[in-house]
Symmetry: C2
Subunit: 127 residues, 2 copies
DNA sequence: ATACATCTACGAAGCATTTCGTAATTTTTT
DNA sequence: AAAAAATTACGAAATGCTTCGTAGATGTAT
């Protein structure tokens, strides 16, 4: 249920989510744009992620091609769930208030959120 | 700016935020309600937190009395900021949509959030 | 004052994550 | 086919967090 992902595993998943199935080399190139790191480090991490079931790989062809086996939204939810438990006393609204109150949010984004709230309220009325 | 706090440091801060300035013994009692752990473990953690500046302590009297030196809201913000960077592509609305979409939120809480959004929109108009 | 309990300081072991070097294998180039 | 380049597997060191045992200091009770 709850997907556990370390920081560096997350940065690899980010690449896989964004670019789709990729080789170690490809993932490594992207990660190196932000942070100096050895090739075998990325390789080893991806091998560990394979053991843990966070990714799968296709071994046909010259180099292995890795695919994320967890959805980004599942990881997002898992992170939110943990934050709710550990720093927001289980209150989603407290989390939302902090998120909106302290980080710049564009008018368009505010509209999107308002729309979602209307929708949730409509759902609650229907039940 | 960005407060870094580990999991066990967080559980200690939780106690200090909730109960106010406390001794190691007091913090330890509370933590043990949830999780078996040695007294000196809690002690050591709080000493490390002192070095890091996460807490201060009053050394008068029989046992030291520790006080959180970071505000809960600062830690909350720091956590949200990290999540925004690492799993929500910097989009607060994406975070909010996930939080509201996947966790039960009462009508009252939805109202509070709506009120905040109105307020933010008013602010944006004024500028 | 002596014994007992409590508290602090601190070193070090245990654990998970991250890092990389080396060796073996496979692919590509000459 | 031999040399060079790229890839994989894997062991182990480095790091950071957590845990606890031991020793010494401080306070409390007999």
């Amino acid at each position: 249920m709850n997907v556990k992902v370390t920081d560096s595993e997350l940065s690899i998943l980010q690449v896989l989510w964004l670019y789709g199935p990729s080789t170690v080399r490809e993932v490594h190139e992207i990660i190196c744009l932000e942070r100096e790191v050895g090739y075998t480090t990325t390789l080893k991490l991806m091998q560990i992620m394979l053991e843990k079931g966070l990714v799968t790989r296709d071994e046909a062809g010259k180099s292995h091609r890795y695919t994320a086996s967890v959805k980004e939204s599942a990881v997002q939810q898992s992170f939110i769930g943990k934050m709710l438990d550990t720093v927001f006393h289980g209150s989603p609204s407290a989390l939302v208030l902090q998120a909106l109150g302290s980080h710049e949010t564009s008018p368009e984004e505010l509209e999107k959120i308002k729309a979602l709230i209307e929708q949730l309220e409509a759902q609650q009325r229907d039940q």
